[in-house]
């Protein structure tokens, strides 16, 4: 699977969503599932750009997106600050307006929309996020 390197800025989110949609469409996912996959990939890339690469210029995200059987695998690799989604507190989605948290929502959505979200951090090689979802 070829790796595609995107500059780490929000302008690439359109391309990232297009890549995921194309792979998922060819993989036979429903329109509803394709939207979910696009949203999860967008939230993942947005978090890398906003948090892992906060204050960093000329950074890059290396991405792969492929079908293996009936499962889509989306990976994103960055060399920014490590940011483990599993350690982010889940937002209370039933809190009232004044107590509703602004942060943590993207990761919450990634977990809800995908079957599995895993994160590996290595001080030399960087951070790798892997998300998978099986075709229904």
């Amino acid at each position: 699977m070829p790796k595609i390197t995107f500059p780490a800025n929000f302008e690439v989110l359109d391309e990232i969503r297009d890549l995921v949609a194309q792979t998922a469409y060819e993989g036979g996912f429903t329109e509803k599932a394709i939207y979910s996959l696009q949203l999860a990939a967008d939230e993942a890339a947005s978090n890398i750009i906003e948090h892992a690469y906060e204050g960093v210029t000329n950074a890059a995200i290396e991405m792969t997106c492929e079908m293996r059987g009936d499962v889509i695998f989306i990976t994103m690799h960055d060399t920014g600050r490590s940011f483990d989604p599993s350690k982010v507190k889940q937002p209370d989605i039933h809190a009232d307006l004044s107590n509703r948290q602004i942060g943590g929502l993207g990761i919450y959505l990634m977990r809800k929309l995908m079957d599995e979200v895993s994160y590996e951090s290595n001080s030399i090689t960087g951070n790798k996020l892997t998300m998978t979802k099986r075709r229904g």
Binding site: D14, L39, S46, I102, L109
Partner: protein, 111 residues
Amino acid sequence: MEITTQEFKHCDLFKVKGRVDSATAPDFSSALEKANNDGHYKIVIDMSELEYMSSAGFRALLASQRNCKHLGRGELVLVSVPKRIQEALELAGFTELFKTFDNTVAAVGSF
């Protein structure tokens, strides 16, 4: 993303088209903040031509709703929310924070 605004006697109508993500959400936020800064706190968001919205857009809606509802001076309501966006809002628990309407006439008339 493209935003058009229309002022009515009792509320402002915002039509947001295209995609709201981390790249475009700041412009969406700015438009809502400008209305609030002008003293307008009764806001209708027409989503009928919105194709996509990520959590960056949800956060903009949340911040504006807080500002609009502060001191009971107004409210932000949603109109014609596309199915996929509605599902994502439900997943995030946002549907209980916003009244939604099927058409702009009903939404504008609610103020």
